[in-house]
């Protein structure tokens, strides 16, 4: 085995040094009934060449985004990631490092996490951010639990109808066994303002927080100011959710608009689609709430020689110190994904991010213009960033399948996310990023017009 330094001669010598006859002697504490003597019914070891071939076979059975006109979004976005990013995160000193519990030999990890946290806080418009969570959906769940801890006694979180359906599902799961109550408003892609009005109307004295996504899962941008005001007036917190962080290069930050906790899916910066994971949960809040924040936090310090250094801080909230009294059970963060984020963000800088965001937005306006005239197609969005929703005159899912046959991956039919809601069956959600060319938009527009001409 290429990964094992010992050969049989080495093993015999070591057994003999230990003073045992065979490896079985070292497993003697295993109850006899549970000892496996034979190999399990699985294939034997393979050469690297064979493994490479097998995975190319798997890959060949998928359609990579680059080979189609690609409009799929809904919480995960395809952006061009500079080759530099992937090169640097593969350096062994980053890739193979342990959790930075020993600061002397982890200053690289600790400093980039410190830089990452600052970037995230600035991007989201908050005072402080942690070193990342698993992904946006679990970060959203953690935010709801944190709001509950802050607003002691209040037991109800209200989720806007435009919150990504998976995020709503995850929030329900994460609060399932606590005493929190989660209220999910119904999605209303045709009525973005109504969604906000109903949300504001639902806030009461038992509300710990309201959870609002912007741009929401149908692509609508929301002004969080009025919601923050309404929530704060009732003593509740505003949790803002951003699933497309590139939008923050063009759109006012949730922190600036008054959100108390901002969570985001950070995948768009630095990370590939990866069929859904690993992704990157961003989590930021006000300074006064920092001790209630889940996850790791890196801080700056000075070593014995007066030199700047970085260390894990506020670990007293964490499970490895507090055990059952910890703020959350989270242990791992998304180390390498946050490294990819921080490198990509450093390459972009403020100027680059602004430009990237506008490119994304421009393509979405072009998409809207291209699709607006098609018979049987209504574009539902007036304020949007890089994603819009269509209401078709027929169910969206078969249309998407038909377009896939024409080398166009034309977004997500809402029925994929809400199979039980007949009112959403005709909704189709499409994203554009800088990777979507004008030619792609034209191809989609032509093909969609063609398909929609067919009788229902």
């Amino acid at each position: 085995m290429r990964y094992l330094p010992h050969n049989e001669t080495d093993r015999r010598a070591m057994l003999s040094a230990i003073g045992v006859q065979s490896i079985d002697d070292l497993f003697r504490d295993v109850p006899p009934a549970a000892r496996l003597d034979a190999l399990l019914d699985l294939p034997l070891h393979k050469s690297e060449m064979e493994v490479d071939r097998l995975f190319r076979d798997y890959a060949r059975k998928n359609v990579p985004a680059a080979e189609h006109a690609f409009f799929v979004g809904c919480g995960a976005y395809r952006h061009h990631v500079p080759a530099t990013v992937d090169h640097l995160i593969q350096r062994g000193e980053f890739l193979t490092a342990y959790t930075p519990y020993q600061p002397e030999i982890a200053q690289g990890t600790l400093q980039y996490l410190f830089e990452f946290q600052t970037q995230v806080a600035n991007l989201l418009g908050c005072d402080v951010a942690n070193a990342s969570l698993y992904d946006g959906s679990t970060a959203c769940g953690e935010a709801i639990l944190m709001a509950r801890r802050i607003t002691r006694g209040r037991k109800r979180a209200i989720l806007a109808g435009g919150l990504h359906s998976h995020y709503g599902d995850v929030a329900q799961t994460m609060t399932r066994f606590g005493d929190e109550d989660v209220v999910r408003l119904a999605p209303s892609p045709d009525d973005a303002q109504g969604d906000m009005d109903r949300l504001i109307a639902a806030i009461d004295d038992n509300t710990s927080c309201v959870v609002v996504q912007t741009p929401d899962m149908f692509g609508h941008l929301h002004d969080l100011g009025p919601i923050a005001e309404a929530a704060h007036a009732k003593g509740a917190l505003l949790v803002a959710v951003v699933t497309e962080v590139v939008s923050l290069g063009a759109v006012r930050s949730p922190g600036e608009m008054g959100a108390d906790i901002v969570v985001a899916e950070g995948q768009s910066i630095g990370n590939s689609l990866n069929f859904g994971g690993p992704y990157l949960g961003l989590f930021a809040t006000r300074a006064k709430f920092v001790r209630q924040m889940p996850g790791r936090l890196v801080g700056e310090t000075v070593d014995a020689d007066g030199q700047r250094g970085f260390v894990l801080t506020l670990s007293t909230r964490e499970q490895h110190i507090r055990r059952e009294k910890a703020t959350s059970n989270i242990c791992t963060n998304s180390g390498l994904c946050s490294l990819a984020f921080t490198i990509h963000m450093t390459l972009l800088g403020e100027e680059g991010l602004r430009k990237l965001a506008l490119l994304n937005h421009r393509q979405a306006t072009r998409l809207k213009a291209a699709l607006s005239g098609i018979k049987g197609v209504e574009v539902l969005n007036n304020q949007f960033f890089n994603e819009v929703s269509l209401r078709l005159d027929r169910p969206a899912a078969p249309v998407v399948e038909a377009l896939a046959g024409r080398k166009i991956l034309a977004g997500v039919p809402a029925s994929r996310l809400y199979p039980d809601r007949d009112d959403l069956a005709n909704i189709l959600i499409l994203a554009t990023t800088e990777t979507v060319s004008d030619g792609d938009i034209a191809a989609l527009s032509d093909a969609l017009a063609d398909i929609m001409q067919a009788e229902l």
Partner: protein, 462 residues
């Protein structure tokens, strides 16, 4: 050498990317244009490469040298895994593409599930948990769901003193009270104390096996039987599965749920703290409560069950957006296929062989906490440091001075001044003797010296 922060070397008016000119167009942002200064410095590409290269040089990883960390298996990260995980057909696909366009990805998930269930002897696996602690959450939620389904509102989870901190944190997260079970003198769960603690209010037990003292819980089948008899479930923390893979199936031990840290047992990169991946295998009793999504085989190929069926579906719901850590599935499966049934068993055997060899070779210089054989790691305590004026912490820092990553210190909590050493595949030529292993002679040579001198950084950069 100090590397400045990006905020000290970059500014908003420099960038390391080129983008197409945007030109003029009518915005549709509804007056929500961002106008503040963001505080996001940019660097040119060469400056960026240099900054992060220099930061990396302040780190120490598996690739850098000897890494005897205990309690968290650190594995070689094969580069073929990194390569295949980046194939466009596996990395450049979206979780919500039509299922007809991702049959290969679904096949990876199906095949990974097959390997995991076969290796553990368990009927079912939930792939989606994002890390080990997330897997614990998944397992305990399934247990609570199963209990609630039978109308049983038990309130207590038993956790041994030696458990990882995530175990009690997870139990508490799911609304359980945590009751600690003491360890016996031989470093294992005190069976009598356990049996005494069991009762109608006990939802289950969370146990690590091999345990955090590096020992196999000899009584594990008896423990499982006792827990089941008392109406509870048996959760196993699979952090140390690497030590027994291919030689013991958790399913044969009576376990109901166990998470598997893909980065500990199946070589996905630790990455300085993630991303992890923590699939959970379930017994027949718990399988119906596992979270969605699942990959299933249909008439038109593989498909994803992404929603609870309308009626009678007992799944406790969705733990994460999308389908979990696909990038880690690919790497773990590549590792499994590379080893095969034979190689994986050999991995466990070599891990145990290394630890016992280390235990044997160091026994004369240090004080092992328990009699062997150990499994994949060996636990020492600080009795051998008595009257030397040197502490476990001094000892570990002295290892850093020698250019090695230190072992795990002060964990588990069941012995005094613990030093937990897991010999990750040593270089063949490093012999584990007091004359060449860095650990043993250090107390005299370095640690005492440190007490008079100021600490020196391990990795100096010029």
């Amino acid at each position: 050498l100090v590397e400045p922060l990006i905020f000290e070397i970059g500014d908003a008016r420099h960038s390391g990317v080129d983008l197409e000119d945007v030109g003029d167009f009518d915005h549709a942002l509804g007056g929500l244009e961002r106008e503040d200064r963001m505080g996001l410095p940019g660097l040119s590409e060469p400056e960026t490469v240099r900054h992060y290269t220099r930061l990396s040089q302040k780190n120490y990883g598996i690739d850098s040298g000897f890494f005897p960390l205990g309690s968290c298996t650190m594995k070689h990260n094969p580069r073929i895994n990194e390569k295949v995980a980046r194939l466009p057909g596996l990395a450049d696909i979206h979780p919500l593409q039509p299922e007809s366009t991702v049959q290969g990805a679904l096949a990876v998930m199906r095949d990974l599930a097959h390997w995991l269930t076969t290796l553990t002897g368990m009927p079912s696996v939930a792939l989606s948990p994002k890390a080990g602690a997330h897997g614990e959450l998944c397992g305990i939620m399934a247990i609570r769901s199963a209990l609630e389904a039978r109308g049983d509102a038990r309130k207590v989870i038993l956790v041994p003193e030696s458990a990882h901190g995530t175990n009690p944190a997870t139990a508490a997260f799911c609304g359980y009270q945590v009751k600690a079970i003491p360890a016996s003198d031989d470093g294992r769960v005190d069976l009598a104390a356990l049996k005494a603690a069991l009762g109608p209010d006990v939802a289950g037990i969370m146990l690590t096996n091999p345990n955090t003292c590096g020992l196999f819980e000899r009584d594990i089948i008896e423990i499982a039987d006792a827990v089941h008899e008392a109406g509870g479930f048996f959760y196993c923390d699979g952090a140390n599965f690497n030590a027994i893979v291919g030689r013991v199936r958790p399913g044969d031990l009576g376990i109901d749920a166990m998470h598997i840290n893909l980065h500990k047992t199946f070589s996905t990169p630790h990455g300085g703290g993630g991303p992890g991946s923590g699939p959970v295998v379930f017994s027949k009793a718990l399988a119906p409560y596992a979270p969605i999504p699942f990959v299933e085989e249909g008439e038109e190929g593989l498909f994803l069950r992404e929603h609870k069926a309308a009626e009678g579906d007992k799944s406790f719901g969705r733990l994460v957006a999308f389908h979990g850590q696909m990038g880690m599935y690919v790497r773990a499966l590549a590792y499994m296929m590379s080893h095969g049934a034979d190689g994986l068993r050999q991995v466990a055997e070599d891990a145990v062989l290394n630890a016992n060899y280390l235990l044997h070779e160091l026994a004369s210089d240090m004080t092992p906490s328990f009699e062997g054989p150990c499994m994949h790691e060996a636990l020492f305590d600080d009795r051998f440091l008595k009257d030397t004026g040197v502490s476990t912490l001094d000892f570990a820092k002295a290892m850093i001075d020698e250019g090695y990553h230190p072992m795990t210190m002060y964990f588990p909590l069941v012995v005094h001044g613990a030093m937990l050493i897991e010999p990750r595949r040593p270089n063949r030529k490093i012999r584990w003797t007091s004359s060449s292993l860095p650990c043993a002679p250090l107390p005299k040579q370095h640690a005492q010296a440190r007490q008079t001198a100021s600490p020196v950084p391990l990795i100096s950069h010029h």
